[in-house]
Symmetry: C2
Subunit: 110 residues, 2 copies
DNA sequence: TATCGTTATATCTTTGCAAATATAACGGTG
DNA sequence: CACCGTTATATTTGCAAAGATATAACGATA
């Protein structure tokens, strides 16, 4: 009949912390090792990606990524252990939500 | 720590059917008896309200509202029994979701 | 110290959505 | 048949978010 859809995100005191788009970006950073490459792999402008990471860092209690500029290779961006933990937690939440929403669809059976 | 937030909506084959804003509008129509008054009570432009109702009707299987134009009082808009049922179902879903999200917040305790 | 690819930031342009405005059509009532 | 408040719809305006472009700063390495 009708399909239940949802979108989830986490908010801290200083605004939105993590959402689905930010998680996707963080995962791309994890595999690419740099913010610019991650943005490119997602067909996202570097500026937008930078803004997202900036917002994450400002709303997070601990650092989510470590950025280095200059040096051999130009630098890069790495996801911290804390960041990796948050990614795992968020994906587990998403999975649980998905299962919950499925269980709720019988509400609209008529 | 971080607060889990979510947004839920229902999709049919022809696009979005019901969301939180649309439910709010339908409830205002229920109490006001007209689309223009409902829009005014929500500080929403008539056009936006009309577009929402139009989208609801296009994506719904059965009529959600009945609209009459002209006549004494100018006409009005009424929510059908089917529409009232859907409102109830959606609000129950929302309540269940809220409880579920609360139960999930321990995922992020560290 | 020249090079390189990255992060960082400013500025301008575009574009898509929201809001505002205007006007027509409707039809029961007095 | 004039009036009224509603639904219905087109057009214009405004603005904020997104995108494009350009440029500076960084620092390990050779």
């Amino acid at each position: 009949m009708y399909q239940i859809k949802s979108r989830i995100w986490l908010e801290g005191e200083k605004g939105i912390f993590l959402g689905e788009g930010r998680i996707q970006l963080l995962k791309a950073i994890e595999t690419e090792g740099s913010l610019s490459k991650a943005a490119k792999s997602l067909n996202m402008s570097y500026k937008k990606a930078w803004n997202l990471i900036d917002a994450i860092n400002k709303s997070s209690i601990k650092p989510i990524v470590t950025k280095s500029t200059g040096g051999n290779g130009g630098g890069g961006t790495l996801v911290t252990d804390y960041g990796k933990l948050k990614i795992k937690q968020f994906e587990l939440l998403k999975k649980n939500c998905w299962e919950f929403m499925n269980s709720q669809s019988e509400l609209f059976k008529d």
